[in-house]
Symmetry: C2
Subunit: 238 residues, 2 copies
DNA sequence: CGAGGACTGCTGGAGCCCCAACTTTGCAGT
DNA sequence: ACTGCAAAGTTGGGGCTCCAGCAGTCCTCG
């Protein structure tokens, strides 16, 4: 008898089922907290927790003042991948603990944004970006190659710098925290803001292209959501 | 003035800082909800939300009836990686939407557990496991190779089967949900249950070794935590 | 002395409420 | 016909409380 497990799970599972079987197609609204409490006869706490869980899974997205909606590409929400900037330091520590020799280096150069990067980073096409090449090696063998593009002054080469970058972002009027989540972008990338199905006020900070110990690059963008969280958007051109 | 951002963040940031700078070494207890409300002069809701956020980040772990504790390897908590079983289906859909031809196949064979797998899956050394080889191809080129070991009867070859597997798990008295999280395992793997710093009652379901479009394998274990969530544990032998 | 039970503290689930900030809608007035 | 504004609905932050189940600890009783 599955009667004694958390009630919020009943709500989560029912909504998830509806999303999966198509009863709730992408873009359609999820009942509000108040409606859920009535519909499922649960308290507000359970309704809200259910919405938070589904949002955490990337199946739905909440828009303040409007409601929760089914994500365009729910299926790819939990995809994560190791990236130079986020994980090189801990990964290196891990390798070193195994007696491996870990090295990495990079060199940066200025470059013009151009149409594609301009759109993704939301800067002017003629804006100058910092283009950085990274090489990450274990026992001399390259494990990861990455090329990153960032607005001038925002380049960060490791996790610590990335943290101090947060401070710099504050100075530029962008408020961020450090919780990390991920979303899949549509690869052909239609056009405007809600392509990535993100709330208003989003800032893209960083676009990175990584070769991870192989021959297939992964493209990554960092998206800073003011006052909310840190997101990574992935696309994998094959 | 950072006075107006959420109070729970103040708690989160302070504890995170203490963990990062070593004031709270691995294993040490985090103040309880009641203590946090007093210490930071916040409500219980904020205290609890802070603990949930930190637990979600993998920095701390909550043990029912005992308390929250600093994780052994906090740094690697947010590592995720694409795996055959979790993401092949959506990834395939993505590739197909780009006009790519996607194929995969596998073949299974029985095998004896042996000491290492027996410990990880918590079965007898002489137990028979299902060993499965997967090949995942995009336009004929192999993108991912994986070898998975599972207790007999639990093999799943795609996301849908994996869901029905949940049902089968129920039949075996294991209660699980589908939220996914990840933890890094210690690679040398000392010995017993709390190696992975997981609560009691944990079941390991699946051990997988993946070559992801490259030459470096990733080892993955699925850990089923009854009534709680689904975890993946990673180690990356280089 | 040793085993078992009571007690305390903790987590996680759940309910209810209030509020600020934001979106949407629809109406009133020009 | 159009503009602007107010009202209603919704999210996210926060507060308070209660309870079940679990883990220690301590104390009592055999």
């Amino acid at each position: 008898m599955a009667t004694s497990d958390p009630v919020y799970l009943r709500v989560v599972e029912d909504i998830r089922r509806q999303i999966n079987d198509g009863s709730l197609p992408p873009g359609s609204p999820i009942p509000s907290r108040a409606q859920l409490t009535r519909k499922y006869q649960v308290g507000e706490t359970a309704a809200r927790h259910a919405l938070r869980v589904l949002a955490g899974e990337g199946l739905i997205i909440g828009r303040v003042g409007s409601g929760h909606y089914v994500r365009e590409r729910p299926d790819l929400a939990p995809l994560h991948r190791w990236r130079f900037l986020d994980h090189s330091t801990p990964f290196a520590a891990d390798l070193q603990s195994q007696g491996r020799r870990v090295t990495w280096d990079w060199h940066s150069e200025p470059t013009e944004a151009g149409p594609d990067l301009a759109r993704r980073l939301r800067v002017d096409q003629s804006a100058t970006l910092t283009k950085t090449h990274y090489v990450f090696r274990g026992d001399g063998r390259p494990l990861q190659l990455a090329t990153a593009y960032e607005p001038l002054g925002f380049a960060a080469h490791n996790v610590e710098e990335r943290r101090s970058l947060v401070t710099r972002m504050y100075a530029h009027g962008v408020k961020i925290t450090e919780v990390v989540e991920s979303v899949q972008s549509r690869v052909p990338d239609p056009s405007e803001s809600d392509v990535l199905d993100l709330p208003a006020g989003v800032h893209v900070l960083h676009v990175e292209r990584t070769h991870w110990a192989g021959d297939r690059p992964v493209e990554t963008s960092d998206i800073i959501i003011p006052g909310d969280r840190f997101r990574m958007v992935y696309s994998m051109p094959v």
